[in-house]
């Protein structure tokens, strides 16, 4: 457990510094949100209607951005071998990496989501739910993306492979989250979507470390 803490702190420091850390994802997020009204026309009521959904979708894409290299660098510079011979199994190493990724980029993005939605004209009452969806969804995105990154280890076009593996897995939480937000705004039942997303997130956190551990072992062989 102590070793896990040591590793988590290191991964957090690395994720914070890697390629601009949270700034890269936040900037990408800002780009989408700023450009969207220019592309979709200026009618404020139309923007306001799709604002939470767009803020939520852009978040999923921004999360994908910094995931590609999650394992790649450790694999290339030999750190993965060191991590494989430590006191914690590779599954725990993968959990630490994904958690750090979530804390360094997912959480800042979740805090930026209400700002973005507000800029697009969404109603204020939806903000708490948007932050909650973004936090939970971000956790699922980090673990699913981590699995994609681990499976793509050692391949030449890793980034492409990560996107292809991960996109179908990103679809359910995007649907559930958008469903919850939409239901909440139109005064319908919204807990169902949120519950489904929580369940999906729990499943991802529980299962993907197994896949990541196996994929890392396979890449080292």
């Amino acid at each position: 457990m102590k070793a896990f803490g040591v590793l988590l702190r290191r991964e957090l420091a690395l994720a914070w510094g890697r390629g601009g850390g949270p700034l890269l994802a936040l900037t990408f997020y800002a780009c989408v949100v700023v450009l969207l009204p220019m592309a979709s026309g200026r009618a404020p009521e139309r923007l306001a209607a799709i604002a939470p959904g767009i803020a939520w979708l852009a978040l999923a894409l921004a999360a994908l951005l910094s995931l590609e290299r999650l394992f790649e660098r450790d694999y290339e510079d030999g750190t993965l071998e060191l991590l494989a011979l430590g006191p914690a199994p590779l599954e725990a190493v993968a959990i630490a990496k994904c958690l750090a990724q979530w804390l360094a980029t997912g959480a800042p993005l979740a805090l930026a989501a209400p700002v973005a939605a507000l800029m697009l004209g969404a109603e204020l009452k939806v903000m708490p739910l948007l932050v909650l969806c973004s936090l939970v969804g971000g956790l699922a995105f980090a673990f699913l993306g981590g699995m994609g990154a681990a499976l793509a280890l050692g391949s030449k076009r890793g980034g492409l492979l990560v996107a292809v593996i991960v996109l179908p897995l990103f679809a359910p939480p995007v649907i559930f989250g958008a469903g919850a937000l939409d239901g909440y705004m139109s005064g319908l039942s919204w807990t169902g979507g949120l519950m489904l997303m929580l369940a999906y997130c729990a499943g991802a956190v529980a299962l993907t470390p197994l896949a990541m551990g196996a994929a890392c072992r396979n890449a080292l062989d």
């Binding site: 070793a3 040591v6 290191r10 290339e76 510079d77």
Partner: protein
């Protein structure tokens, strides 16, 4: 503390090609073995197989301590250092951050990391980013983790290559001390090790 490493009938293949087969080697406490052989003979693969990173095609690697056989996963997680071609250091972090992490991760302490840095003449370099270090300095930083956390089996892949003559000698002293304390060393080399070591030819 491991007492014996037993390599029995080991065969390793990469892709379709068999690198070597039928390799037997026993390493006892206080012994060093130097793996020699041409490039691509399988020295690195053997080290990685002992470390459990690579699945051998046939044969077994077993570990024993004073009370009998030790489960391989436990031995590898607690008693084994592997230093490969890559130093496993992040260019953007300082030498101290990296050494401290490597020591803590492999079971050492901050104090032991500090002592190891002194041992390898790294104190002046600790505040520098790894990217600013020369190849030899980087290797010394990687070697320092051997001294920073007490693990009994050292698997070294060309450990001396980037070191200058003085540093080779200094590392020789560290290795000799490790052996005197009951440790074991398995190293792939092209130049002879500065300590008495059994020569094992791979892929002859």
């Amino acid at each position: 503390m491991l007492r014996v490493v037993l390599i029995k009938d080991l065969a390793i293949s990469r892709g379709e090609r068999t690198l070597f087969s039928g390799l037997n080697l026993t390493l006892n406490a206080g012994e060093a073995a130097a793996l020699v052989g041409r490039n691509g003979a399988g020295k690195t693969s053997l080290l990685r197989a002992v470390a459990g990173l690579l699945r051998p095609m046939a044969g077994t690697v077993t570990f024993e301590d004073s009370s009998g056989p030790v489960e391989a996963d436990v031995a590898r997680a607690e008693q084994l250092h592997l230093l490969g071609h890559h130093d496993g250091l992040k260019a953007s972090r300082t030498a101290w951050e990296e050494l401290r992490f490597q020591a803590l991760w492999t079971g050492g302490t901050e104090d032991s990391a500090r002592a190891a840095a002194k041992r390898f003449d790294l104190i002046r370099l600790l505040d520098l980013e790894v990217r600013r270090l020369s190849a030899g300095q980087r290797r010394r930083l990687a070697l320092a983790r051997l001294a920073a956390s007490p693990r009994s089996l050292w698997l070294l892949d060309e450990p001396m290559a980037p070191l200058d003559a003085t540093q080779r000698e200094a590392f020789g002293v560290v290795m000799a001390e490790h052996l005197a304390g009951g440790g074991m060393i398995l190293a792939s080399v092209h130049d002879p090790l500065p300590i008495p070591a059994r020569l094992v030819e791979i892929g002859a």
